[in-house]
């Protein structure tokens, strides 16, 4: 059995209720890599700068919550840094409320927090954000359902194949065992790899705690998704 087995979620996962009517039922058609080996977009919308990577400085005042630095390295499966690639994040505020019209649950909005950021990895594939730690939030998947604290990540990598949307979690969250989205990953080590690591060397005294979250993207000669589920 490959070490990649169970590292990617199946499409249909009934404990995650929304997947029941949205997961394709027919088998996916396998395509050889040459049909998808084209490059990720490199211009236009990638212009980032200013406070794009600092979610605590985008509004007139500072948001409430624990200020954190989230940093890591983006690598491919050959262990090479993925340079100059766009990383986008979005998240709830410290109370667990999203700045989105559809989230109306009873937790306060923070007038000083939107919760979206973007940056580009450097020559070593490294990225860094400053933000506040998001709260857990309730959802209606099942009775008394709560999502663990998480930050959403979106990355391109070098090609169509390496595209990834994932979620970063925080160590010690008591909600992991109850969360079907987290549990959709069958391999225990793969689940652990979605959890950021507290890193004292990233922490800045009297200012922010630091969490490290490294990300690995699929690259060339890549095992298809279905073989990783």
């Amino acid at each position: 059995m490959s070490t990649k087995t169970g590292t990617q979620p199946s499409l249909l996962y009934p404990p995650y209720g929304s997947s029941i009517h949205r997961a394709p039922a027919q088998p996916l058609i396998r395509l050889p890599q040459n049909f998808s080996d084209f490059s990720a977009p490199v211009y236009g919308f990638r212009d980032v700068g200013g406070v794009d990577a600092d979610l605590t400085r985008q509004r007139p005042g500072e948001p409430l919550g624990e200020r954190i630095i989230v940093s890591g390295q983006v690598l491919d499966e050959d262990g090479r840094p993925v340079r100059n690639t766009l990383v986008e994040i979005w998240q709830a505020n410290a109370a667990g409320r999203y700045a989105h019209v559809v989230d109306t649950h009873p937790a306060p909005l923070d007038p000083n927090f939107t919760g979206a950021g973007r940056t580009i990895t450097d020559d070593e594939g490294r990225y860094q954000f400053v933000t506040i730690k998001p709260g857990a939030y309730p959802w209606r998947n099942h009775s008394n359902a709560w999502r663990p604290q998480h930050i959403h990540f979106s990355l391109f990598g070098t090609s169509f194949l390496s595209r990834l949307v994932t979620q970063m979690y925080f160590p010690g969250d008591p909600l992991f065992e109850f969360d079907p989205i987290f549990q959709s990953i069958r391999d225990a080590r793969a689940r652990e790899r979605m959890i950021a690591r507290f890193d004292l060397s990233l922490t800045q005294p009297e200012w922010a705690l630091g969490y490290r979250f490294d990300i690995v993207l699929r690259g060339s000669h890549s095992t298809p998704f279905e073989e990783r589920t």
């Binding site: 009517h21 949205r22 989105h100 979106s154 169509f160 790899r193």
Partner: protein, 180 residues
């Protein structure tokens, strides 16, 4: 990371969730694949997403990738509205008889309910010649014949240059998705 040092395994995918719009789709200009100011004709592609109950999906995100001659991708990204629809502006697509490559766009689909994104293609046969080339397209050849039409955009009557493409996530006319 807990994996052995000599093995790097791709990070697990998780759903994009219902609240991505304020993070990923605030820029309406991403609905246009061709950079503003580029001369030439434009087509419109109306993409609609329907779930297994034939209900529109109002919280999907669609990306279109279109490699140019240099292998770099033109790119578009939009979220669907309450009717499950979004409208892209695309360059006119031309099939190539020489390469046997039928005119198409690559599509990447994200939404709440999908734990990982889906890949498909939108074939936009601009003319009879295009439909002809599709017969020899190497990707379509791998699709069961009775499912190929799920990858074909259809022209909107009386609206030249406007195309419609419905994605059906489940059911009788379920769209073909690819495993890459």
């Amino acid at each position: 990371m807990s994996a052995p040092v000599d093995e790097h395994i791709a990070t697990s995918s998780q759903t994009v969730g219902p609240y991505f719009s304020f993070g990923l789709t605030t820029n309406a200009a991403l609905g246009q694949l061709t950079p503003a100011g580029t001369p030439g004709e434009r087509w419109r592609l109306i993409v609609r997403i329907l779930d297994g109950q034939s209900a529109p999906v109002p919280d999907a995100m669609i990306e279109l990738w279109h490699p140019d001659h240099a292998g770099r991708s033109l790119f578009g990204r939009l979220g669907t509205d309450t009717t499950g629809t979004c409208v892209f502006e695309i360059p006119p697509l031309v099939s190539s008889r020489e390469s046997g490559d039928a005119a198409h766009l690559n599509l990447c689909l994200f939404m709440r309910g999908l734990l990982r994104h889906l890949y498909t293609r939108v074939y936009v046969p601009g003319d009879a010649a295009g439909a002809d080339v599709a017969v020899h397209d190497a990707v379509l050849a791998r699709v069961p014949e009775n499912r190929r039409q799920t990858l074909m955009a259809t022209p909107v009557p009386d609206s030249p240059g406007t195309w419609r493409f419905d994605v059906r996530l489940q059911g009788e006319l379920e769209t073909v998705f690819f495993d890459l």
